[in-house]
């Protein structure tokens, strides 16, 4: 009888006690990034070549060796058959298009008056679309070669290569009037401000880092992005860390050579794990656990708060009993990954409902019976 009253009161008080939030376990990606230390350096041999994009014949150099140039400055004038072909074709097709357009309009009028068939109108329309497509393809090809098609009235074989970045012309590689093919270096350009980041990555990440991965630094709120260009074969002797190089393309006054900056390296092989919120985790009897609400909890309420009923279960297999009868199941989990808000765990299935926060209170209720009246 006594037990029944206790049972009912426990049930009652659990109802208007603390709200225990629950959530369903979801799959999350982990291992996305690592914070490391980077040093700003400048490499002495940061030279680049300006390449020819088309084959042709060098007509004129706008620059001399040792000259300081800026991005967008003219470097060389090429005489190119390919260019002249392309421009000629562009112009002829443009003309063709305007005549097709005229025809089409005339046919349209005729069709309206009932003097021609719809079939011939359609034929004309298809021809027009074909021409338009060809034209836009050509237009974009020319655009990549920095040739503006809007003002193009007649075919030209002249092609100007512009500087793609600031720097100093180190050397002119091809003699004047010589012919060059596609991808032939024409001049070498040394960057004036070639900032690189030398980042020190703990050996533990050796298997994850790859060339091309993103590395960011935060300079007073301004995020500067760079990409790993080189992984040095030797680790830093002193720090025993892998050294990564990445170039900083963006020009900023905030970068000082030799300064150390905190940086974040992003890996692209993030793994997915079943994740729970960090606030769900609790350390219980030497193991990490999460608490899972039980559906039948309301039928079978375990009276943790009074001793008598409890004592009967106080046997060696005490834990199992408690788990069977308590409102919450204690699930031991293994931490496999974590980030700021989530913990990747093993031992929990995706979609399972778990106590997502205030796990402290659940643990309290489970342990309360053994608290005793002594704080000392």
């Amino acid at each position: 009888m006594n037990k029944l009253i206790v049972l009912m009161s426990v049930l009652g008080l659990c109802l208007h006690a603390i709200e225990i939030p629950t959530q369903h376990a979801s799959s999350q990606a982990f291992g996305k990034s690592v914070a490391i230390n980077s040093q700003v350096i400048q490499l002495s041999n940061a030279s680049q070549s300006v390449m020819s994009l088309v084959s042709g014949h060098i007509e004129k150099y706008y620059v001399k060796a040792g000259e300081k140039i800026k991005k967008g400055d003219k470097i060389v004038l090429l005489e190119s058959i390919a260019i002249s072909k392309m421009t000629a074709e562009f112009i002829s097709q443009k003309k063709q298009l305007s005549s097709v357009n005229k025809n089409y309009k005339a046919l349209q009028n005729l069709y309206k008056k009932g003097m021609t068939s719809l079939q011939s109108l359609n034929k004309q329309s298809i021809q027009k679309d074909e021409l338009l497509a060809k034209l836009s393809a050509l237009k974009s090809q020319l655009k990549t070669l920095n040739i503006n098609t809007d003002g193009l009235r007649k075919a030209t074989s002249n092609f100007i290569i512009y500087a793609h970045s600031d720097g100093v012309v180190a050397k002119i590689l091809q003699p004047l009037h010589s012919g060059v093919g596609v991808d032939t270096p024409i001049i070498s350009l040394v960057k004036e401000q070639a900032y690189y980041l030398k980042s020190f990555l703990p050996l533990a990440y050796a298997s994850k880092v790859k060339v091309g991965q993103k590395l960011t630094i935060d300079l007073d709120g301004k995020i500067i992005v760079s990409h790993v260009t080189q992984i040095l074969p030797k680790v830093d002797v002193q720090t025993q860390r892998i050294v990564l190089l990445s170039s900083v393309d963006e020009k900023t006054d905030l970068l000082y050579i030799n300064a150390y900056i905190a940086s974040t390296l992003y890996f692209d092989d993030a793994k997915n794990y079943v994740a729970v919120r960090t606030s769900a985790l609790s350390f219980y009897k030497n193991e990490w656990v999460v608490f899972l609400p039980k559906e039948e909890a309301h039928e079978e309420e375990h009276d943790e708060h009074e001793g008598h009923g409890h004592d009967e279960h106080e046997e060696v297999g005490h834990d199992e009993h408690e788990e069977e009868e308590a409102k919450y199941e204690i699930r031991v989990v293994k931490i496999v990954a974590q980030d700021e808000k989530f913990i990747g765990v093993e031992g929990l299935r995706e979609g399972e409902e778990y106590v997502s926060a205030k796990s402290y209170y659940v643990k309290s209720m489970l342990l309360k019976s053994s608290l005793g009246g002594h704080g000392h």
């Binding site: 009161s9 009652g12 008080l13 659990c14 208007h16 006690a17 603390i18 230390n37 020190f200 703990p202 533990a204 002193q238 720090t239 025993q240 860390r241 150390y260 905190a262 960090t278 350390f283 219980y284 009897k285 030497n286 990490w288 708060h305 009074e306 001793g307 008598h308 004592d311 009967e312 106080e314 046997e315 060696v316 005490h318 974590q338 402290y360 209170y361 643990k363 309290s364 209720m365 342990l367 309360k368 019976s369 053994s370 608290l371 005793g372 009246g373 002594h374 704080g375 000392h376």
Partner: protein
Amino acid sequence: MLGYLIDSALKYKLLVITLFLVIAAFGFKAYKEIPVDAFPDITPKQVVIYTESPGNSAEDIEKLITYPIESAVSGMAGVKLIMSNSIFGLSYVSIFFEDDMDIYFLRQLVSERLGSVAIPSGWGKPLLGPNTTGLGQVFWYELKDTTNTYSLREIREMQEYIVTPLFKSVSGVEEVVGWGGFLKQYNVLIDTKKLQNIGVTYQDIIDALQKSNKAAGGQYLEFNREQYLIRGAGLYKSLDDIRHTVIKSGKGHSVTIGDVASVEVGSAPRFGSISIDGKEAVLGMVLQRTATNAAKVVDRLKEKLSTVESALPEGVVIRTIYDRTEITLKAVDTMTAALISGIILVAIVLFLFLFELRSAFIVIISLPLSLLIAFLLMDYYGVSANLMSLSGLAIAVGMIVDGTIVIVENSFRKLHENPTKPKVEVIAQAAKEVATPVTFAVLIIAAVFIPLLSLDGLAGKLYGPMALNIVFVMLGSLGVALILVPVLSVLLLKPSSSKENFVMKGIKKIYTPFLLFALGHAKLVLASVSVVFVVLAYILSLQGREFMPELNEESIMYRVIAIPGTGLEHSTKTAGDVEKYILKNYANEVSSVLSMIGRSENGETAQANYMEVLLTLKPDIEDLPALTRKMNKDLKQAFTFINFVPTQPISMRIEELLEGVKAELAIKIYGDDQKVLDSISKDIQAVLGSVDGLEEMEVETQLGQAQIKIEPDYLALARYGISVEEVMNVIRNGLGEEQVSEKIEGVRRFGIVAKIKGAKNDIESVKAITIRASNGSLVSLDQICTIEIRQGASFIKRENLSRYMVLSMDVQGRDIASFVEESDALIKEKVNIPDGYYIGWAGDFKNMKAATDKLMVIIPITIFFIILLLYTAFNSLSKSMLILLNVPFGFIGGIIALVVSGIYLSVSAIIGFLAIFAIAILNGIVLVSFIDELREKFPNVALKIVLKDATLLRLRPVLMTAFTTLFGILPLLYATGVGSEIQYPLSVVITGGIISSTLLTLLILPSTYLLFYEKNHDAGVKGK
């Protein structure tokens, strides 16, 4: 000898009166000066050693601090028990000594022994705890900023540097404990990522901090005949000084602290906090020195208050939260009221019986005089006026007058019988006649209470002063009766016819037929009373027992316990919620709620999961017990995740003194491995679950504290060239915030700590701490250490050098002794206890048992002693036995009263029985000695008639002594104030006992006498 005394007194009447006037004056002075306290000092002779070892775990503290201390102090002379508790950051060793040793001597001995204890450097220094008693916290106050301008840190600083020194200068104050708020410190927040940048190690930074911040004296120089002192003042003055401290010098420039760290004002890690009415606050607690007067200490503190407040900034005030004098005054008031109303009642009874003002006056005057003599003796022997000692006086009030009554009555009768003889002669004669029985009666009363003095432990400390006071006042009354009363009788009494008044006439009319019947059926009456006694004695053995009735302190307090490992900030928040809940739901009854969370910075063993919640109640609450019950229930429902244990401020301290076990009954399981202890406790629980009467069983979990264990990997360390010490220094200083230097501001000192920035955000950030070796290697902590999370001990308790675990239980509806017997047998039979492990029973029950066991030895000795006294008085063994036979008759009423009012058998009740013992014997002596006197006078009259006449003649003094005792004790029965509940069982027993003892003495003693001496006497009559 007594005759000589009386003769001399009568010869020097003036001298005697002057003597007693002087005694009265000094007694009154003593009464005013006696230390007043609510409770006797029940603290055992105890020296506490506490060692603060910040940041260290219970296991390490036990191993490296507690055990060495324990071994050093064990084997000291007079050590009774060594108990210890190792918790996170603190080792607490308590040594209990024999009570008769001098505390200052013991403290000295202990500190000598401490000198030989080797504790690793950096692990703290053992200190002796304050020399105070368990009830030493006499005054609690809140340091309150009414203007909301100061931060908690600033208020705490005021507490430490303004209030504490001022209060400490008050005489009788041993210690002022500050609690709550934050302690200021200077944080040097090191960004370990920068260590690589500038090429220094963590250790370099610490060394740099320690090498700076110095002062030096440079002697003097003489210049122009004058002396100029030289001093180097290199102590840090500002935060910039810290920032500019050089760590490493390069070419033309230096690396300074400011390059690797930010320097800021911060707060030291804390172990406790205070919350008042839902807000954090700063509390101060004044500890009184051992053997000082609590009331006076508090008075002096209050005098100092105005000075303290004027020293504090405007708007910061001291608000009293708990003041021991309040309950002290209430308790003393209860007892004084009982005493005064007892005196008045006794006076009324005397007048009703005597119906003569002069004799009544003499008797009544003896009352205050005896009390004043008692106060004089109390003062001399250093007994404080408290609940227990004053109640001794209250109990004795009715008995004080007994001796005087007998002498006055006899003198009065003799004067009446011999109107012509000189008054002095008649009275001297009368006094001498009764002097011997009176002396013996008083001595017997005193003797009856002496066993209480021999009790040790808590019972002895509680009831010793009471017994002592009864002895004092009885001796006082004897002096008054033998010396002053004859003198006063000569001066005041007038021979007049002792006409019986209507009261006595009425009583006699009713009494005579009963007496005649009893004398007629002596055997039958005796047999039936004996049967009744045996039955009642059996019923008594079934009665529930308790050590001490619960003291009503007119206050409500809770111990609140959350699960082990609960964080302080969470506990503080919970406490705030509890406070708000109480204030909201009990707005009419509660004016303020205070929570003490964790522990203050020194010397207590509470952890962050432990809170004490004290309610300040509004005045005039009608039904406090009902309110308490309702609140208990409400709180338990509203806060399901914590345990509430209702208690009261003084009771709580007493509970703590009960060997650390507050339950009525507990099993202590001793042994080394906590896990084995745990499993034994589980086995015991399983076995005892089925034992009858067990209501509740609780284990005190010692495990449950999650730990991040950082274990250095020696191989990895070798790889990077880092020493273990460096790693441990990073943990101790960088994480543990141990101060590396001190910033001195005037006399105020604040620690400078080299904290690692962002290292305590979460577990991962601990792993990621960067360490730089001196050769430049840069590693994170988890590269060189195995870092694991595991469950460790939240505390480790030890007793006499062995770990133990407590399993406490609540037994209802059956006698505890038999429960223990049955359970003990069951455990022995069914639980397998491994070698090196053993169990012991403890708890309140043990105190009760210790007290009972001791009494079982001492009471027979006392009885023997009393028989000896009786034998000396009557010169007859059979008469002594005859008088002793009265005792069971007295017990009958006591037992009936106890059972009817449903009170447990406590030490208090046992003392009631002792008092009955005395009263019964007193009644017997008065009657038997008179019967003897009559028999001598009229040797030829049949014994039955002699008995009848003697009893009727002696009815008045017997009834008078009985009624004065009864009415003396009545106020205690009806008292309701603070402390009354402790004396309630006692007064119930005595009231019942007096009634039955008196009735049965008057009926059965004559019958027994008849049975004992009928043949003998009547043979003598016939022979003549």
